[in-house]
Amino acid sequence: MGKTFSEKVLSLKAGKEVQAGDVVTVSPDYILSHDNSAAIIKEFQKLGVKNVRSPQKLVIILDHVVPASSEKYAANHKTIREFVAEQKIPNFFDVPNGICHQVFSENGFALPGKLILGADSHTTSYGAFGAFSAGIGRSEVASLWATDEIWLRVPETIKVEINGALPSGAYAKDVILKIIGDEGADRANYKAVEFAGEAVKGFSLASRLVLTNMAAEMGAKNGYCEPDERTVQWLENRAKDDFDAVTSDPGARYEAVLVYDISSLEPQVACPHTVDNVKPISEVEGTVFHQALVGTCTNGRLEDLELAAGIFKGKKVHPRVRVLIIPASRQEYLQALKKGFIEIFADAGCIVLNPGCGPCLGAHQGILAPGEVALSTANRNFRGRMGSRDSEIYLASPATVAASSIEGKIADPRKFL
């Protein structure tokens, strides 16, 4: 009987053959945390040990509220910097660098076959590179810092086979929104989601990251795309460590195989207040909104900025709309700058903000008032997430967000391409 990717990685890590449903005790290759490291430090200090067991495994990236917007946030960041120095943690990325998932990836920690755990639900992202990566809580990270050990249940796997080529106006974001809309927000709870098929092979790493990032919105423990030449090429000069790709066996047992043909996919929009409330653009066109966001760990990469810049070029943002552009990282920002995208955004009337999570989680940089509506490239639209509990969030691709920002209401991006 063949095994799935997840069963194989966790077998290797556990040092014995395991299968879906087994519980293993494992030691991860990397442990990610961000601004929440301050709270994790507090928990760690209750454990009665002085030193982090494997400081080289920790990757700490400040991104949630950067630069600090209040004294409290500033104090948190300071606590983290002091801890990093005291524990000699080599992989620390301070506030200029960008969103943790992008910074973690572009610095070559997200590698095929690695086991990565992070104090963030979108840690599922690194599956785009063929890693096993899952989100955990603060107490678990604190405990991991001290013990270098954690229990995990080996997940069953759902395979999503995506065939066909994307039609004009549709992107990886539309694909994953369509899947989540069809399958529901808890379809993959406790499970792994393997994205396969010719379409995924044709996707850039940036687009694969959209799939694995949003696997979390189906409840998935981890997402996965099989590493290929594109992956290896992307990792060249980036990989922090040696790696061996792990792939599912041909006879692997899947809990379900879902088959999608995307060749006639319409742009998709997730409507308030759940990510699985997805409608084709034709059903929501004309919806008035007030704030747009192009950015986040889902859609703030160069290909997303390029897409948005192509639509904004020579156009003006609708006077009712505030458009926030947030490159996912400093590296992506720099490239966008060199390619002239930032100038296009500023010229169109967009607000270009520094790399970071920005207003995605409602902490700063563009909070919604009661009655306001946002259209965002983010991954979540839960009630109150970007501000008032009486505001609303729609989610879409960077193309849909850019096109709509020009019209001042949700618009079909195909008119602008």
């Binding site: 949630h64 509220v65 946030y73 639900s121 809580g137 107490s139 405990s143 709870n189 989680l361």
Partner: protein, 164 residues
């Protein structure tokens, strides 16, 4: 045996409505966290919750962020246990790691009305409601150990001490 009054909610109660993201790095004191519990789902909850109350909900309770405060704020608000049709995986881990019992029972959820008083017998794995007695799946040994110590941090502390 634990007795408590029920607050009942629907499916997909997410971490943003349990504990909004805007508070995650600014509200850290237990009492203040309790005051914001379920703020964007049910503003009455934090005002009226009493120690020992229980939450009963539908599918995928706690979906969304990995923020542990979603579990912690409920604990600080005095919630004794959460019973749901199913839990999102990170919330499930977080709740156990905070020593907050999370129980899965579709039948119990169906039978319980908001405001009724129910009883949980952890030893026998039973939930007693007005309509009957329902079983919940017992916790595995490892999880029981964490709950017994009151959460993962005290559990790990004890384990590290024993190793010394």
């Amino acid at each position: 045996m634990k007795k408590g009054r029920v607050w009942k909610y629907g499916d997909n109660v997410n971490t943003d409505v349990i504990f909004p993201g805007k508070y995650t790095y600014s509200v850290m004191e237990p009492e203040e966290m309790a005051r914001h519990a379920l703020e964007d789902l049910d503003p009455d909850f934090a005002q009226q919750v009493k120690p020992g109350d229980m939450i009963v909900a539908g599918r995928n309770f706690g979906c969304g962020s990995s923020r542990e405060q979603a579990a912690t704020c409920l604990k600080y608000a005095g919630v004794q246990a959460v019973i749901a049709r199913s839990f999102a995986r990170i919330f499930f881990r977080n709740a156990i790691n905070q020593g907050l019992p999370v129980l899965q029972s579709e039948e119990a959820v169906d039978s319980i009305k908001s405001g009724e008083e129910i009883e949980i017998d952890f030893a026998s794995g039973k939930i007693k409601t007005e309509k009957g007695v329902f079983a919940f799946s017992p916790f595995p040994e490892s999880v029981l150990g964490i709950l017994k110590e009151g959460g993962l941090i005290p559990y790990t502390r004890k384990r590290l001490k024993e190793k010394d």
